[in-house]
Amino acid sequence: MARTIIPFGPQHPVLPEPLHLKLVLEDEIVQEALPAVGYVHRGLEKLTEIRDFNQMVQIVERVCGICSMIHAQCYCQGLEEMLGITAPPRARYLRTIWSELHRMHSHLLWLGLFADGMGFESQFMQCWKIRERIMDVNEATTGNRVIVSVNVVGGVRRDLNDGQLRWIGSILDQVEAELKALKKPLIDDYTVKKRTVGKGVLTAEQVYELGAAGPTLRASGVAQDMRMTRYAAFDELVFTPVVETEGDCHARLKVRYRELLASIDIVRAAMRALPEGELAVAVKDKPAGEIVTRVEQPRGELLYYLKASGKKNLDRVRIRTPTFANIPPLLAMLPGVELADVPVVVLSIDPCISCTER
C-alpha cells in the first residue's frame, strides 16, 4: 500500500500555532501520528530566578495570550494560599467576571477557528464578529484587548463601576442573542455534523485514563470542572458543569457552545452579587513552602505547582496547562481519521501550544 508522509506544521495555515505532526497516510487515512513540539518553548518557568514573585505575574500572563488573565489568577491564588492571605470578596468576584469573559472570548475564538478548520469561512467571520464585543469589554474595563493584566498577588488592580456593569450587561444580552442565532447555522448544520459527528471519538473511560482535561473530558461524559472546587467566587455562585456524552468532535463543539451561554449567566450572577469592598490586600511576607493550585481555564484544568523558601524569588514555578494534558488523548484520536478531519480533531481539543511548551 502506498503511503504518504506529510509534515503537518510547524507552519500551517489551519493551525495558527507551530505544532508539528508527522502524519503517515494511506488513502488519506492517518496510520501514524507523532508530534514534534518545541517551536514555542521559551523556558519562562525559569524566569522566576531573575524575576521576583510579584513580577512573575506579568510573566505567567504571557504563558498564553488567550487565557492570560486566568494564568495570573491561578498564580496569584496559589501565592495567596502560600502566604496565608485571602483576596477580598470584591476582588474574587471581579476575578470571576473577567475570567468568564476571557473564557467567552476564547471559546468564540475557538468556534471561529474550528469552523475555519472545516472550511466554513463565513462562520469564522461570524464568531469573530461576536467576539469583538467581548474584546471591547476587555479594552474598556482594563485598557487592553488581550493581555488584561488585572491580577496582583492579593487581589485585583482595577474596578468596575456601575455604569460599566450596566454596559457589560447590555453587551452580554447582545452576545447571547447572537449566540443563540448561531445554533442553527453552525451547531446543527448538516455539513458541520457530517464533519464532526463520530469523528475523534473517545469514551469516558479512555478519556479519563488518558488524563484529558476540560471540554475534551466533559464531552465524553465525565463531569469534571475545576470550578466545582469552588475557587474565587464560585463558593457562593451556583455552578453546574456542562457535559455531553457522545465523546466526538461534535460533542466538544456543543460543550463549548453551551459553556459560552453558561458563562454569560455566571457573569450576570457575579455582577448582580458583586460585593462592595477593597480590591486587594497588602502583601508583607515573603512566600515559603510548597503549593499546588488549580483553576478551570477555557481549555480545562490548569495546575500551578509553586515552591518557595522565603526569598523574593520563588524556587520553582511549574505550570501544567490543559493542552499539555490533552495531547495524549489527541494522539489516541488521530489514527484512523481522514486527513481532512485532522484539523477538526486537532482543533477539537482547542490546542494552545504556547501554553503547552511555555
Binding site: M1, A2, I5, P7, H20, K22, D27, A36
Partner: protein, 634 residues
C-alpha cells in the same frame, strides 16, 4: 500480387517460426525475426495500398488448402487433447472433446465439402487488423529480441529457450493474420484455436508453478470459448446454410437460430477478449515475459475476440441481443476501468484497461450504428498502438528498475528520462484529445447517446480512466532534480520500437481522418450505411487538423517557454520544516530526525479492491451474458 502479399502475411510467419525453432543459432534467429518483421510490415502496407479484395487460394504447395486446414484443425485439437491428457487436466480434455466431436460430426455431415468462395476476404476491418498485427506485432517481436536476451540472463538459464519462444511469437502473427483474412468460418476457427495454443505456450513459457497454472487457466477458458465458437458455427450453418462470413453478414434477417449462433460467437469473443467474467486468464497471463503481454493485449489474441464480434455486428444490429451486448460491453468497460483504479501493479493496470477498452469495442459492436462501428474499428487501431507501446515501456522500465509497480516508477524521469517521456506520451495518447483513442471514445459516446444505460456506463468508465492514467503519467515526471538527468543507455532494438510506436501513436492520430476515409468509411456501406457522426462528416478533417495544429502550436510554445524560463530553483513546501538539498526533499520531523517525504496514490481498496469486487462483478457479468442469450431468443 494480392495473393502473394496474403501468402507472405499468413504463411511466412509459419515458415519463419519453424526456422526459429529448428535453428538454435541466436544470430540466425535475430536475422529471421528482423526480416520477417520487415516483410510483414511491408506486406501489410502493400496490401493496404491495394485496398479490399477477395481471394480463393485453392492449394498450398500443391496440396488442397481446404483439406489441409481441416486436417490441421484436427491435428491441432489432438495436440491440445494431448496436452490435457499429459497434464491430467480434466477440463482441457473435456472441452477439447466437446469441440472435437461436434466438429467431426459437422465435417462428416456437411453436405457440400467444396471450397467456399471466396475463402479469404480483405476489407477495411481485415486491413485494420492486418496492419495492426503486422506492424505493431512485428515491432513487439523486434523488441522481444534484446528483451529476451536480458530476460534469460536474469533467469540464469543453462540452455536458451528462445527458439521455442520466438516460434510461438512469430507463429502468433501468422495465425492472427489468417484469422482476420478468413471468410470461410471454419478457416477462421482453425486460426482461432491456433492463437489459443500459442497463447498457452507463451504464457507458460517461463515454466514454474504459477506460469503453468496460469497458462492452463488461459487454455481452459479459451477452449470454453472454442466450444462456444464450434457450436456457434454449427448453429450459424443451420440458420444461414453457408460458411461464408460475408454471406451471413449481408443476408439480412436470419431468424432466431442465427441469433443463438451470434450469442455463442459473442460468448467466444468474450472469452478471447477476456471480458468479465473471463478476465482472470488475461490477468494471469502477466506472468509471461512482457513482449508476450504486449502482443496479447495490443495486436493479437484479445483483439481476435472483438474482431469476431465486430465482424458479425452488422448482422445483428438493432436487435434486443445487440442492446444486451452493448450493455455487457459498457459494463465491462466501466468496471474493468474501476478495477484498474484499485491496482498499483503497472501490468495489471494495463490488463484491466485492455479489458475495459475491449468492452467499449464490444459496446460499439452492440450499438451497431455506423458511428459506433466506426468508433469500434478506430479503437482497435489506436488502442493497439498505444497499449503495445505502454506494455513495452513497462517491460523496459521493469528491466531497469526491477519493479512493475507504478509506485516504484515515481520520479522515473530522474533515472530513465527518455523512457519516462515516452511512457507519458503513451498514456496521453490513451487519454486525451486530439489523439485517436479519445476521438474514438468521443464517437462512441455520441453513438451511445441513444442507449441510456450504455452512455452512463461509458461516461463513468471514461472518468475512471482519467484517474487511472492521470496519476500514472503524473508521478513518472515527479522529479526533484533541477538539472537534466543523464541520458539513459538502452539497446537500440529496445529503444527503436518504443520510439517508433510513440511516434506512430502521435502521427497516426494526426492521420485519423485519412485512416477513417480509407479504412473505416468503406466498411460503412451496404446494410450499415448511414451517418457516422461528427467525425465522419466531411468536416472531420477541418475539425481535427486545426485543433491538432492549435494544440501542437500551444504545446510547442509551452515547451519553449518552460525551457527558457529563467527561474530560480525552488525547494518543496514542507510546512517550513524542509531540510536537506532540493534533490532529496526531507523535513525535520519529531526527535530532530530528517524524514524523507513520500507520497502514494489512492487505490481505495474499500471501493475498487479486486478482492472485494471480482466475485460480485463476475456474478453480474454472468447475469448479463444470460440476459444477452435471452435477448438472442427474442
Amino acid at each position: 500480387m494480392e495473393n502473394t502479399l496474403l501468402f507472405v502475411l499468413i504463411f511466412l510467419p509459419f515458415a519463419a517460426a519453424g526456422l526459429c525453432w529448428l535453428v538454435p543459432s541466436g544470430a540466425v534467429r535475430r536475422g529471421v525475426v528482423l526480416v520477417t518483421a520487415a516483410l510483414l510490415a511491408a506486406a501489410s502496407l502493400g496490401l493496404f495500398g491495394r485496398g479490399a479484395f477477395a481471394a480463393t487460394p485453392e492449394s498450398l504447395l500443391g496440396l488442397p488448402l481446404n483439406g489441409l486446414i481441416t486436417l490441421a484443425d484436427f491435428a491441432l485439437l489432438l495436440v491440445i487433447l494431448g496436452i490435457g491428457l499429459k497434464r491430467k487436466n480434466r477440463w482441457i480434455t473435456i472441452l477439447t472433446l466437446l469441440q472435437l466431436v461436434p466438429l467431426a460430426i459437422f465435417e462428416l455431415t456437411l453436405p457440400e465439402h467444396g471450397p467456399i468462395a471466396p475463402a479469404l476476404v480483405i476489407d477495411g476491418l481485415s486491413l485494420i487488423m492486418i496492419l495492426v498485427i503486422s506492424i505493431v506485432g512485428s515491432l513487439i517481436c523486434v523488441f522481444a529480441l534484446p528483451y529476451m536476451e536480458a530476460h534469460e540472463q536474469h533467469l540464469h538459464l543453462r540452455s536458451s529457450r528462445q527458439g521455442r519462444f520466438f516460434f510461438f511469437l512469430v507463429l502468433f502473427l501468422g495465425a492472427m493474420n489468417g484469422l482476420v483474412a478468413a471468410n470461410n468460418i471454419l478457416w477462421a476457427y482453425f486460426f482461432w484455436e491456433l492463437t489459443t495454443l500459442c497463447s498457452f505456450a507463451l504464457i507458460g513459457h517461463d515454466g514454474g508453478e504459477e506460469a503453468t497454472a496460469n497458462a492452463v487457466r488461459a487454455l481452459v477458458m479459451n477452449l470454453f470459448g472454442g466450444v462456444a465458437l464450434v457450436c456457434g458455427i454449427i448453429f450459424l450453418y443451420g440458420a444461414a446454410k453457408t460458411l461464408s462470413i460475408q454471406d451471413v453478414v449481408q443476408a439480412g434477417s436470419l431468424g432466431t437460430m442465427a441469433f443463438v449462433a451470434f450469442a455463442l460467437i459473442a460468448l467466444a469473443g468474450f472469452t478471447k477478449a477476456a471480458q468479465l467474467p473471463f478476465q482472470s486468464w488475461l490477468l494471469g497471463a502477466m506472468v509471461a515475459p512482457t513482449p508476450v503481454s504486449a502482443l496479447l493485449h495490443s495486436s493479437t489474441m484479445v483483439k481476435a475476440g472483438v474482431y469476431i464480434v465486430l465482424r458479425f455486428a452488422p448482422a445483428f444490429a438493432g436487435s434486443a441481443f445487440a442492446d444486451c451486448l452493448a450493455v455487457a460491453g459498457g459494463f465491462t468497460f466501466c468496471v474493468a476501468t474501476g478495477l484498474a483504479l484499485g491496482q498499483s501493479n503497472g501490468k495489471r493496470i494495463l490488463a484491466y484497461s485492455t479489458i475495459g477498452n475491449l468492452g467499449l469495442i464490444m459496446a460499439c459492436a452492440g450499438i451497431g450504428t455506423p458511428a459506433a462501428l466506426a468508433a469500434g474499428m478506430l479503437f482497435i487501431v489506436f488502442h493497439a498502438v498505444s497499449k503495445g507501446l505502454l506494455f513495452l515501456c513497462v517491460g523496459a522500465i521493469e528491466q531497469t528498475i526491477g519493479s512493475r509497480d507504478i509506485e516504484d516508477m515515481r520520479g522515473l524521469y530522474d533515472r530513465m528520462p527518455r523512457t519516462a517521456v515516452i511512457t507519458v506520451i503513451g498514456i496521453v495518447t490513451m487519454l486525451l484529445p486530439p489523439f485517436g483513442v479519445l476521438m474514438a471514445k468521443w464517437m462512441a459516446i455520441e453513438a451511445a447517446a441513444d442507449n441510456l444505460p450504455v452512455v452512463v456506463l461509458i461516461a463513468m468508465g471514461s472518468a475512471l480512466g482519467v484517474v487511472v492514467w492521470g496519476r500514472w503519467a503524473g508521478i513518472l515526471m515527479s522529479s526533484s532534480r533541477t538539472k537534466k538527468a543523464w541520458p539513459e543507455a538502452q539497446p537500440a532494438l529496445l529503444r527503436w520500437p518504443l520510439a517508433v510506436l510513440a511516434g506512430g501513436a502521435v502521427v497516426l492520430s494526426f492521420l485519423l481522418p485519412a485512416v477513417y476515409a480509407s479504412l473505416v468509411a468503406p466498411m460503412l456501406k451496404g446494410p450499415i450505411a448511414g451517418s457516422a457522426g461528427s467525425l465522419a462528416s466531411g468536416l472531420a478533417a477541418y475539425l481535427i487538423y486545426p485543433l491538432f495544429l492549435v494544440l501542437a502550436a500551444g504545446f510547442l510554445y509551452a515547451v519553449i517557454a518552460a525551457r527558457q524560463a529563467r527561474a530560480a530553483v525552488d525547494t518543496v513546501y514542507l510546512a517550513g520544516a524542509q531540510a536537506g538539498p532540493p534533490e532529496s526533499p526531507a523535513f525535520t520531523g519529531p526527535m530532530d530526525q530528517p524524514v524523507v517525504v513520500s507520497a502514494g496514490n489512492y487505490y481505495l481498496p474499500s471501493i475498487f479492491g479486486e478482492e472485494r469486487l471480482t466475485f460480485p462483478l463476475n456474478v453480474i457479468a454472468v447475469a448479463l451474458i444470460i440476459i444477452m442469450a435471452g435477448g438472442a431468443l427474442i
